[in-house]
């Protein structure tokens, strides 16, 4: 054959093979997370959960015979940087976009991802994220609009509190929770005895607890990050505040118990994801994570892990790796733990990307998180 013709055939073959490359070869996932800055704990846990899941799945042959490749990018806990990193990730056309964890970063990146027609599985909990009509966004944990009503109901029905002091961390996470629960309290006629904002990374809570005491509430709702929760619990004990202390995952996690010691006893909360849940699969996950990374994960680690298994379950349901049909398949999908152990607990995704899953009401008793009530899955 003449050299020119040979070259032409060769060239055509390469072109043809690249056309097929999309439908074989590794599945590319892109993750944008808070690996530095104020959210480093959140982002690093999320990343580690993802990596663990990817490693597990690849060891068993991948999804539909194709291995998973994930790239991690650092949003520096800054929505502007998150936007830039997501932009960059989208340029390389991933199958699914993972993250960010911070609601503010999710808010600014979601329109970009939706425009590109790619599904986004993220860790943010702010209520408004799934209320903007985005057809491509999915949660991995309860949104605040699901969890806060449960806390308010508990405070009203079980604690029978008529006035509650609300302490929250002044970022989008804390403010979101505070806004939703204040609204819920309004519905029950519960008075907000004190509305106290705190800074992320704050170490000294004497003034805040002083204000709480002065307000004389029936209960205190605490919505801070883990370390600050530990510190405020210590200060509350030191200043002799005896009323029920109620919060969410960040108040009653293992980390908080470890850091606050005795002061954590008696704290209660609604928890969506916890490594202390009386669920066998979660215990196994926790063991695997601790073995690989030498520390016990927080709920962000679980979220990252779940995100990958959500992708696996959805792709296997479709029977093919199809980024365009992904979101539609996941809407309304129920993934059972019996079929896919990696999903840890049965979960159903609704048309907005919100999740329906069982939750727990826990109390810290003698240094351990004890599940007092299991709040079943709604459907």
């Amino acid at each position: 054959m003449k050299p020119a013709n040979l070259a032409a055939v060769f060239f055509a073959a390469i072109l043809a093979s690249t056309a097929f490359a999309q439908s074989s070869g590794p599945i590319k996932l892109a993750d944008v997370a808070e690996l530095s800055g104020g959210g480093a704990t959140v982002g690093n846990n999320w990343k580690n959960g993802i990596d663990l899941a990817v490693e597990e799945i690849n060891a068993k042959g991948g999804i539909l015979g194709r291995k998973i490749e994930v790239t991690h990018a650092d949003s520096q806990s800054n929505p502007g940087v998150a936007r830039a990193q997501v932009q960059k990730a989208l340029d390389s056309e991933p199958y699914v976009l993972l993250g960010p964890g911070y609601s503010g970063s999710v808010k600014v990146t979601a329109p970009l991802v939706a425009e590109a027609g790619i599904t986004q599985i993220m860790g943010g909990e702010a209520a408004e994220l799934t209320q903007a009509g985005n057809k491509f966004l999915f949660r991995t944990s309860f949104g605040q609009q699901s969890s806060m009503p449960k806390v308010a109901k508990y405070l009203n029905d079980e604690v029978k509190a008529k006035s509650v002091a609300v302490v929250w961390v002044n970022n989008d996470f804390g403010r979101g929770g505070r806004d939703v629960i204040t609204k819920e309290f309004g519905g029950y006629g519960i008075k907000v005895a004190a509305d106290i904002s705190t800074e992320a990374g704050q170490a000294d809570f004497a003034a805040d607890v002083s204000k709480i005491k002065a307000a004389n509430p029936d209960a205190v709702f605490i919505y801070l990050n883990e370390e600050e929760s530990a510190r405020i619990l210590k200060e509350l004990k030191r200043q002799g505040v005896m009323v029920p202390l109620v919060g969410e995952t960040t108040l009653v996690g293992q980390k908080v118990i470890e850091l606050a010691g005795d002061a954590a006893n008696g704290a209660r909360g609604h928890v969506g994801l916890t490594t202390d849940a009386p669920v066998e699969l979660i215990k196994q996950f926790r063991g695997k994570f601790a073995k690989k990374y030498n520390y016990v994960p927080d709920h962000n680690g679980i979220k990252g892990y779940l995100a990958i298994y959500m992708i696996k379950a959805t792709t296997e349901k479709m029977g093919k790796v199809d980024p365009k049909a992904f979101a539609d398949t996941l809407h309304g999908l129920t993934i059972k733990a019996a079929d896919e152990p990696g999903i840890l607990m049965d979960v159903t995704f609704d048309q907005n990307g919100d999740i329906d899953r069982q939750g727990f009401l826990v109390e810290v008793i003698e240094g351990k998180q004890v599940v007092k009530q299991v709040l079943p899955k709604l459907h």
Binding site: T41, G201, A206, A207, D208, A214, E226, E227, Q239, L259
Partner: protein, 291 residues
């Protein structure tokens, strides 16, 4: 009224922490014209060094000793030789920027090689509370306050009463003349850095059980120390204590009586007021040389 007392005592406890960090900061400036924006990270790091040694299997007391020695090596000798010496002759500002970059470097290194999570840290002071004026104060806070006072008393005595101290002051005021009259300038500067490293290692030992070991705990400390040092008097070591305690108390009072949302602004406003009306700081001497 009891509320006010609570706040005052809590403020003093926090203020003691700021004071210790500020002392080293002031010392470095006084004796070698170094503005160390990484001072907060310097207080954060030794605890991690000690934790690393304990992870390798050593008992706590050994980890403390090794940690302090490592701190003096890295943050004293290393800091001086690698960063300060090459840069100091070019002026104050480039060195200050370099210490900013150093702060980022240390923070990231700890985050990367250790963990982004907070770790608890064992305390050499027992963890209980004592009752002072009817209010529970943690023993750890008292320990920090004790160290701060000891450090200031010790350093003031050193600087004002010993020959070495006089030599250090001479180097601070006019290195050229000091050299002429035979003061070993290099050695004096090195001594300052070693003292600072020792001080931050001790501070780390006492503060970390309260603050928890986290890579980002240096940020707040560094900024508070900076303000405390200026407010107290940048050219007097005992100014650092007054500045630190004052900032701690003002911060608490502001949070309780003004607004928790704006509490971070109040120490800043205090800083501006002090600079405007008393530029040498509350306890400082009026400047003999241009800053």
């Amino acid at each position: 009224m009891s509320n006010l007392l609570d706040l005052l005592i809590a403020g003093l406890a926090t203020g003691a922490i700021y004071a210790i960090v500020a002392v080293g900061f002031t010392l470095l400036w006084q004796t070698s014209q170094t503005i160390n924006f990484a001072q907060g990270e310097f207080v954060m790091l030794p605890a991690f060094l000690m934790l690393a040694v304990m992870h390798a299997g050593a008992p706590f007391w050994l980890a403390i000793i090794v940690g302090i020695l490592l701190a003096m090596l890295l943050l004293g000798l290393g800091f001086k030789m690698l960063l300060v010496d090459p840069m100091l002759r070019h002026g104050v500002l480039p060195l200050a920027i370099a210490t900013m970059a150093l702060a980022i470097g240390i923070k990231e290194a700890v985050k990367q090689f250790f963990s982004a999570e907070a770790s608890p840290f064992p305390s050499i002071v027992p963890a209980g509370d004592v009752s002072i004026l009817g209010r529970a104060v943690s023993l750890q806070s008292l320990g920090v306050l004790a160290l701060a006072i000891l450090a200031v008393v010790g350093l003031t005595a050193l600087l004002n009463r010993t020959s070495i101290g006089h030599q250090m002051q001479a180097v601070a005021q006019n290195p050229t003349v000091a050299r002429i009259i035979g003061v070993p300038v290099e050695r004096m500067i090195l001594l300052t850095f070693l003292i600072n490293a020792f001080l931050v290692a001790l501070a780390s030992l006492l503060i970390t059980p309260i603050y928890l070991a986290k890579f980002s705990s240096g940020e707040v400390l560094g900024q508070a120390a900076f303000i405390a040092a200026i407010v107290g008097g940048f050219n007097q070591v005992r100014g650092a204590i007054v500045g630190g305690l004052l900032i701690g108390v003002v911060d608490n009072l502001a949070a309780a009586y003004i607004s928790t949302q704006y509490r971070a602004a109040v120490p800043m406003i205090l800083l501006v007021a002090v600079i405007l009306f008393r530029p040498q700081g509350l306890l400082g001497r009026p400047e003999e040389r241009t800053v």
